[in-house]
């Protein structure tokens, strides 16, 4: 049975509804990430937000990107983050001390930024196409053409970048060797 073009009762299209839902989830989850007190839940909420974004990517026809989002972000980065949380949260961790003293001004400036973004990005003449319904799926071919065309160099370099990051990450995260030293902790530093 074909679904009606619009959502019953409210009269907005399915696409819009989906977008609003995913967008709403994204924003709500993000807000939880930045406002929530329990850092582990924050991590989980981050996964939720990123997942909702993946949904939006699908909406936009970027299935491949959605896949990457799930794989890389949710599968790798978020897990890495959770792992780091586990590593660094000692039992005495001051869970309550969530916010900086500048939280209120930060909220103000972030709101200001949000308003500026909304105004500038919303009122700009983008010369963009308007799609009826969902945008056409973006074929992997066009993406591949770009990735291995103009962005080939960037693509290759990203691999070097990841190599460098991995080497550095391993070095930094590895347990220090004996005898490694630095400046005395308590030295007057000015």
């Amino acid at each position: 049975m074909p679904l009606p073009d619009t959502l019953p009762l409210i009269g907005i299209t399915w696409a819009d509804a989906l977008f609003m839902m995913l967008g709403g989830v994204t924003i709500a989850a993000s807000l939880f990430v930045v406002l929530g007190r329990d850092i582990i839940r924050n991590g989980l909420m981050l996964i939720l937000a990123l997942g909702a974004l993946a949904g939006i990517y699908v909406m936009l026809g970027a299935a491949i990107l959605a896949g990457a989002q799930v794989l890389v972000y949710i599968g790798a980065i978020s897990v890495l983050i959770l792992f780091a949380i586990m590593l660094t949260q000692s039992k005495a961790a001051p869970a309550k001390l969530t916010f900086q003293s500048q939280a209120l001004p930060a909220a103000l400036i972030a709101s200001l930024l949000a308003i500026i973004f909304a105004i500038t990005l919303g009122t700009n003449d983008w010369k963009a196409t308007v799609f009826a319904g969902t945008p056409a799926p973006q074929g992997t071919t066009s993406t591949a053409a770009e990735l291995f065309g103009p962005y080939l160099l960037a693509f290759e370099v990203v691999s070097v970048l990841i190599l460098a990051a991995v080497i550095g990450g391993i070095y930094l995260a590895a347990i220090p060797r004996a005898g490694q030293i630095g400046a005395e902790d308590d030295e007057e530093v000015r």
Binding site: Q102, A106, I109, L113, T120
Partner: protein, 657 residues
């Protein structure tokens, strides 16, 4: 090479119409200079023989000077004298200041006094300074002075005159401060130099004015220019008065007279030579030399006359009550110099120079005599501690008495002739007030000079028991005797017959341009006319002063004198304290001046430098303030970034729209 080129060029350019001086004329300068350099270099090793070279140099100079001065006075060098160019001193583009010497009757008159008194003072010093450790130094300075003074009177360029003017100032400074281990001479020397410099500022500016008008400082060119009417009106007044400033300083006229009494801190021969007979006359010489510019301005002449006659009476009033023998003479010198300026101011040029000559001799005599007195009483200068010395030092007494009579203006001694001419001409040229004041001063002079004689030589001795009073050696008494001769006779020699003597003949052509500008005619002297009456009046006044002085101070009249002074208490105190003029100077220049300088110093440290340091402080305070924003907390930093981002977004949106 260049030196010679300059010399040759200067010599060839000196196309003067005047006659050439004999080739040995520069020796007048070279001899004393050589004497100075020689003595300064090795005099210390010569010990008691240090005087030989300087003395010889001056005696030789005297001879040369006479060989030039006498013909000059007699008119044998031509009406306008003779000159010779030496070298270019300062050259700036087309403007050059040449060094050259010029001798005419006016120079001759000065040479006569300067070299004669100078030579005698040198001789006198051999005795007077014989026990001084700075013997050689003294003679070196004296020769330096002689060089400077001769340069002053010989130079044919006003800038060289100015240079010499400063050099005599230097010599005077060195000689006043000769006893440098004592405090007072140093102070007095400094005071003399600085006070002179006050006048010299005017002099220097006057010279610049002359350069601006005439484009040269060559004296003959300037005088010819003035004669041709190139200088008149306010410019003439200003320039003449500026030059007069220099004269006021050097000749210690009011209000720059303060240095001369203090200058008596120097050795007495110095007082005699520099501060009585020669250097102080430089101002008179300068005004006389520059008579045309002065004559071109009535106002300037009036100022000269007024300052002169005021100084005459002002100084005389102080001389009344001074007790230091040399100070009395110093104030007397001031007074007599005032006479000369008064004469110059009324246009009595020749009498002014005449008085300069006679005064040079008898005042030199009086000073040397006072030195002999001081020598006799072993350094005492206070007259209340003398008395009754007449018999103990008869030569000194006799010669000083001659000097006193001469200065008192009693005929027929030297002072009478010149003083009488000044007063007479002042009256005849219509300056009755100058004459009247001059008469009073004449009487006063006679009075205080006999007061000096009385306190020193007459009455009972008040000299301390321990002092062995003795007559001075021949080197000191001989100059006294030699000076007594002109003190007696030079007046008549140069000034008789009245208005027609040697001096008048010699100087008349020199002052002719000035007299033309003033409209003065040469008139014959009339014994049974106004001239005779005036002479009688002046002799009378001098006699009255003499009589009162002699009667009061002949014997010990202490009570009467005290009674008189008690009745005139305010005047006595004023006179005794030199009318508080030194205190006024001290207040204005020393105290307020120091305060001003301290204020400027405060300003420099706190305001000018304070601003500089303030910028530094501000900078580091700013730095300290700014480093506070570096809190160490990442979130604060990020907040700054976000704030910057927001600001920038707004800025671009504003710029873009």
């Amino acid at each position: 090479m260049n030196v010679f080129n300059t010399l040759i060029r200067a010599a060839s350019e000196g196309g003067e119409p005047a006659a050439q001086l004999p080739e040995y004329a520069p020796l007048l300068l070279i001899l004393p200079l050589a004497g100075f350099l020689f003595t300064a270099a090795i005099g210390r090793r010569l010990g008691k023989l240090a005087h030989l070279v300087p003395l010889g140099a001056i005696v030789a100079t005297w001879g040369i000077a006479m060989s030039l001065a006498i013909p000059a006075l007699l008119g044998d060098l031509g009406e306008h004298g003779a000159s010779s160019e030496l070298f270019t001193w300062i050259a700036s583009g087309s403007l050059t200041f040449n060094m050259g010497i010029h001798v005419d009757a006016l120079t001759g008159a000065l040479l006569l006094v300067v070299t004669t008194v100078g030579a005698l003072v040198h001789l006198y010093s051999v005795g007077y300074m014989s026990h001084d450790p700075g013997y050689w130094r003294f003679f070196a300075y004296l020769n330096l002075f002689m060089f400077s003074m001769l340069l002053l009177v010989l130079a044919n360029n006003l800038l060289v005159v100015f240079a010499a003017w400063e050099l005599v100032g230097l010599s005077s400074y060195l000689l006043i401060g000769f006893w440098y281990t004592k405090r007072e001479p140093g102070l007095a020397a400094k005071k003399a130099f600085i006070t002179n410099r006050v006048g010299d500022v005017g002099f220097a500016l006057g010279l610049m004015g002359l350069v601006a008008v005439f484009g040269t400082l060559d004296i003959s060119t300037i005088l010819a220019g003035v004669e041709a009417g190139q200088l008149a009106g306010p410019a003439a007044t200003v320039i003449a008065l500026l030059i007069f400033c220099g004269a006021v300083g050097k000749s210690a006229q009011f209000p720059l007279h303060v240095w001369l009494p203090d200058a008596m801190e120097g050795p007495t021969p110095v007082s005699a030579l520099i501060h009585a007979a020669t250097m102080v006359n430089a101002g008179v010489y300068l005004v006389a030399r520059m008579s045309p510019p002065f004559a071109a301005s009535h106002e300037a002449m009036l100022v000269v006359a007024a300052i002169g006659i005021f100084t005459a009476i002002f100084a005389a009033s102080i001389a009344f009550t001074q007790t230091d023998i040399k100070r009395v003479l110093a104030f007397s010198t001031l007074s007599q110099l005032g006479y000369m300026f008064a004469a110059l101011g009324v246009g009595a040029w020749v009498p002014a120079i005449f008085h300069l000559i006679t005064h040079g001799f008898f005042k030199g005599l009086l000073f040397l005599g006072s030195g002999s007195v001081i020598h006799a009483v072993e350094g005492e200068q206070e007259m209340p501690k003398m008395g009754g010395l007449a018999r103990k030092i008869p030569i000194t007494y006799a010669t000083m008495l001659i000097g006193t009579v001469a200065i008192a203006g009693l005929p027929p001694l030297a002072g009478f002739w010149s003083k009488d001419e000044i007063l007479g001409e002042a009256f005849k040229f219509g300056y009755a007030w100058v004459w009247l004041v001059g008469m009073v001063v004449a009487g006063a002079t006679a009075f205080y000079m006999f007061r000096l004689m009385g306190l020193t030589f007459w009455g009972k001795s008040r000299v301390s028991e321990s002092v062995h009073v003795h007559e001075s050696p021949w080197t000191m008494t001989l100059p006294l005797i030699l000076l007594a001769i002109p003190s007696i006779g030079i007046g008549a020699l140069l000034g008789f017959p009245f208005a027609d003597g040697i001096l008048v003949h010699g100087l008349e052509p020199i002052f002719h341009p000035a007299n033309v500008l003033l409209g003065h005619e040469h008139e014959a002297w009339t014994l049974f006319g106004i001239d005779g009456l005036l002479m009688l009046a002046s002799v009378t006044v001098a006699s009255i002063g003499t009589v009162i002085g002699v009667r009061l101070f002949r014997s010990d009249n202490g009570d009467r004198i005290r009674a008189i002074t008690a009745r005139l208490q305010p005047l006595y105190v004023g006179s005794k304290n030199r009318w508080f003029f030194d205190d006024l100077n001290d207040l204005i220049f020393v105290r307020l001046g120091t305060r001003l300088a301290n204020a400027a110093w405060w300003f420099d440290r706190r305001v000018v430098d304070g601003a500089v340091n303030g910028v530094g402080t501000l900078t580091s305070t700013g730095g300290r303030g700014l480093r506070q924003i570096q809190t160490g907390r990442v979130q604060n930093y990020a907040f700054g970034i976000a704030l910057g981002l927001a600001a920038m977004a707004v800025a671009y949106l504003v710029i873009g729209s």
